[in-house]
């Protein structure tokens, strides 16, 4: 007897071909992937795929976007799998499983002000949501983008931030924590300090966050000071992923499997678990 087939694309990878590659900053590339599949690839921003390189293994990577029938993944080369991934030549093939997890509830948030808070070297799941909001500008109120980095040239997608700022009705605030001299358009300090300058309605907003947990914890404190209720906050978490779909047990946070119940969580859902050391 032969076992049933693994669902293709979910448990058995499908083949994706590198159609284009763009360098975003040193060590960060956006891969444009053509998918070898007949079915359409439906996904929500904030969901992720498991990308596979022959003989090396899989890594979870957020879905950055969809452009001209190509799937976009922005990848930071940090190790065993991601380094060779970004070094692939056009035409090379890789494996892909997904999409997995819960994305940002962008439809549910229509009509509200959107506040995006990210820190670190860029946060693909949030950038995807920003792009969506900007492209559907009429559906949302104010759009505020807060991004913190150590040095201003760490900022990923710099041209894109300029572009968002130039839209006029989109407030972009940037902070560099380890810079000595202030640059034009930049503030010195932490991303959380930018909230004081942000223009949005605390009673009618949604906050979308992604970044190191310490940053998100600090931001939550600041948000509370600005009268933003927990109910308005969504955040994307990171854990070790092996299977991507709630089977391997690696990504647990209390009663949740981050891969399947997240990676985007409504903050009240995980509040009692979030930020505890060693959980």
């Amino acid at each position: 007897m032969m076992a049933d087939f693994l669902p293709k694309g979910q448990q058995l990878p499908i083949v994706a071909t590198l159609a284009d590659k763009q360098q975003e900053s040193p060590g960060i590339y956006t891969l444009h992937l053509a998918m070898d599949t007949d079915s359409s690839f439906d996904f929500a921003f904030g969901q992720f795929n498991m990308l596979y390189l022959l003989g090396l293994g899989e890594v979870p990577i957020s879905i950055m976007g969809w452009q001209q029938n190509l799937l976009l993944h922005t990848i930071r080369a940090v190790g065993r799998v991601t380094q060779p991934l970004v070094a692939l030549n056009i035409g090379a093939q890789l494996g892909l499983r997904g999409p997995f997890g819960q994305g940002w509830p962008l439809h549910q948030l229509e009509g509200q002000d959107l506040v995006f808070i990210t820190a670190g070297l860029g946060c693909a799941p949030v950038v995807a949501a920003i792009n969506y909001a900007v492209n559907h500008r009429k559906k949302y109120g104010q759009i505020v983008i807060l991004q913190g980095v150590k040095h201003h040239n760490d900022l990923l997608w710099q041209p894109q931030y300029e572009c968002w700022r130039d839209l006029g009705n989109c407030q972009v605030l940037l902070a560099a924590s380890e810079e000595k001299k202030r640059k034009y358009h930049w503030r010195l300090g932490m991303v959380t300090e930018l909230l004081a300058l942000a223009r949005f309605d605390a009673n009618h907003c949604a906050v979308l966050m992604c970044g190191p947990e310490i940053m998100m914890l600090a931001a939550l404190k600041q948000l509370a000071k600005h009268q933003v209720s927990d109910k308005s906050v969504y955040l994307s978490l990171e854990r070790n992923f092996q299977c991507g779909h709630g089977s391997c047990g690696h990504c647990q946070l209390g009663p949740y499997f981050v891969c399947k119940d997240g990676p985007v969580f409504h903050y009240p859902q995980i509040k009692s678990w979030f930020g505890l050391a060693g959980v």
């Binding site: 693994l6 293994g57 854990r239 070790n240 092996q242 047990g249 690696h250 209390g254 050391a277 959980v279």
Partner: protein
Amino acid sequence: MDKGFLPRQQFPELYQALTKAGYEVIGPTVKDGAIVFSPLAGFEQLPTGWKEQTSPGRYQLEQTAGQRCFYWNTGPQALKPWLFKPEQPLWQAEQTADGLCFRQTPEQVQPRAFIGLRGCDLAALKIHDQHFLKGVFTDPYYQAQRQQLFIIAVNCARSASTCFCVSTGDGPTATFGFDMLLDELEEGFLVASGSDQGELIMQQLPLANTKKKQISEAKQQLQSATQQQRVMPDEQQLLKLVDRLEHPQWQDVAERCLACGNCTLVCPTCFCSKQESHSDVKGQQADQVRLWDSCFSEQHSYIVGKVFRPEISQRYRQWLTHKLATWQQQFDRSGCVGCGRCISWCPVGIDLVEEAQALLKSEADDG
């Protein structure tokens, strides 16, 4: 349930009936000083006369004068490695002239009859069914093995000192999930069926009518198996473990725990796994393999630049709070079926019941 009586000297006829029906018979046998499940060439390989003495950190087989084959209670493992395998190839990737190809690793399955599973084993099987069959996706490898199982359960006639299935509600009686059920008496077996397939096998056995005395004897020994020393706090109590994440007891247990992960490997309900890519020398072909893993390993919580649970106290806390508390939110019941394996197979004798009680007793961390 109608029971029949199978005299001990005719017990091998059950083996014959099973093999005739096409099953490979898997049962308990003595190997390296422990009871393990393996393919049986005949019932003479059953652990006749053996029982185990267990205590925290200790498991020892002991020969008795009797003829019973199921007088022991547990071994280090029962069903888990047969369905959720320690090493499971999932799929293969190959670089061919036509490009990259992916295919599922074929899985050979053959009808198997397991004899000697207990109430706690069946409770653990039900938990794994929920996880592997009713999760986001069905695991086809688990499912393939699961679908062809024929289960002959045995009611426990005694309890090991580490057993506490009475307090978790999972034993010592097997109440569901079997095709046949045995009560072992000195002179033979009370046999009942639990499914149509079980009924078919049962019809082939030279069964005698049961005697009143046999029924009451079976009842009595079951009753004696319910006398257990360990009592796991009830599920409502266990939920409170998550209010005690800062309890000093975690540090206390961390000083004893080696983080070896034995407890998770012998536990019939633990399901953690990791994946590895095993490639051939030329790098043209690779197998994606799933391997058992444990929340006691440091890598379990590793992401680039961070380990979420660097301390042993945090990893022990993950084990205990998951197994006993957060498991309840995930699967509507605790993940512990009271088999006591993690207690006897812990090299330093850490007793999870004692730890759970200690954590719940003190109100130090309340509020």
